[in-house]
């Protein structure tokens, strides 16, 4: 078998020479440091529930569609909020993330649980929010991050049909 010598960049040692002067104990220490996950490259993906395609809401009409229609087509919402003047907001949401990253960490005793909690609206949840009036008629539909929409809706004094916006916000 013919061997081909590789040309390494200046200052780079071949693997054999690199570890030639390293003791077994030293290698174990390096391995242990890596094993404690002080440094790692991560490829992660997290998903929560299935996204709802925009096409599914095409059948809804402001002022006509009812709460019953929404539940029938969209299923059970993730959240239901009470709004002023007898209005109610229903939110359908999902989460999807895929990411590469370099993680540099020092292990501590405090653990963070990344799981979804119903008590707080996670900033990364996307979805649709439908607002219904006291007669359970649809008055507003918005798409985006649920936390942002929730904050905005809670600041609004009312949700009359006349205030429905139809242009995409920048």
């Amino acid at each position: 078998m013919k061997r081909v010598a590789r040309q390494l960049p200046a200052g780079t040692l071949p693997a054999g020479k690199l570890f030639a002067g390293t003791s077994l104990a030293g290698m174990l220490v390096i391995g242990a440091l890596i094993q404690t996950s002080c440094i790692s490259v991560q490829w992660t993906r997290s998903t929560l529930d299935e996204s709802i395609p925009d096409e599914r809401i095409a059948s809804f009409s402001i002022g006509e569609s009812s709460l019953h229609d929404a539940l029938d087509v969209m299923g059970a919402p993730l959240y239901v909020w009470e709004l002023p003047r007898g209005h109610a907001a229903l939110a359908w949401g999902w989460f999807g993330m895929r990411d590469w990253g370099l993680k540099l960490s020092v292990p501590t005793e405090v653990a963070v649980d990344p799981s979804f909690q119903y008590n707080d609206i996670d900033n990364s949840l996307e979805g649709f929010v439908f607002v219904f009036d006291g007669d359970e008629r649809l008055t507003l539909v918005r798409r985006g991050y649920l936390a942002e929409i929730a904050d905005d809706l809670r600041r609004r004094p009312s949700f009359d049909v006349g205030q429905v916006e139809t242009q995409r916000e920048d």
């Binding site: 299935e50 809401i57 969209m74 299923g75 985006g144």
Partner: protein
């Protein structure tokens, strides 16, 4: 230390340091589709719902009306650790039921979603059987801000025409 021994040591270290795991986490007991099918708007009372489904996870007051949430979440995680490279995947799906009552505690509406069985153990590079929302989110430019849906999708009431 000669080269063959170094290679063997390296291979042994790789084998020792590589690890993987699968984990499953559930929140609340699974919901029964048969029980939900027994709920009849206009007839079933809040007490009957409580007897059938148990205590709700959340109660939301809507003026004089109310809404109860029942949910069950199935979360599946899988990971591989190869020295400094880590692959992690989490897929969480849920069963949810919302029941709405009027001021007399009579059921008015029911919304149900049963997706918990669809949770999967996978690696990040594998496609989800139910569609990959992670890719959809990454590809979508519209997801960056809250927006009112396109007029083509939602028709405003006549008086709101602009």
């Amino acid at each position: 230390m000669n080269k063959p021994i170094s290679l063997r040591l390296g291979a042994a270290a790789l084998a020792l340091f590589a690890s993987c795991f699968v984990a499953r986490e559930t929140t609340n007991a699974p919901l029964s589709y048969e029980h939900v099918a027994q709920l009849h708007p206009g007839e079933t009372t809040a007490q009957e719902v409580a007897e059938l489904l148990g205590a709700p996870s959340e109660v939301v007051q809507l003026g004089f009306r109310s809404a109860w949430r029942y949910n069950h979440v199935e979360s599946k995680r899988a990971g591989i650790f190869l020295l400094v490279v880590t692959f992690l995947d989490t897929d969480a799906r849920s069963d949810r039921v919302w029941v709405f009552f009027d001021e007399n505690d009579v059921l008015t509406n029911v919304g149900s979603t049963f997706e918990a069985d669809g949770a999967e153990w996978q690696m990040p590079w594998q496609d989800r059987a139910h569609g990959d929302d992670a890719d959809a989110a990454a590809d979508s430019d519209d997801s960056s801000d809250a927006a009112v849906v396109a007029p083509a999708a939602i028709e405003p009431a006549p008086e709101s025409a602009q």
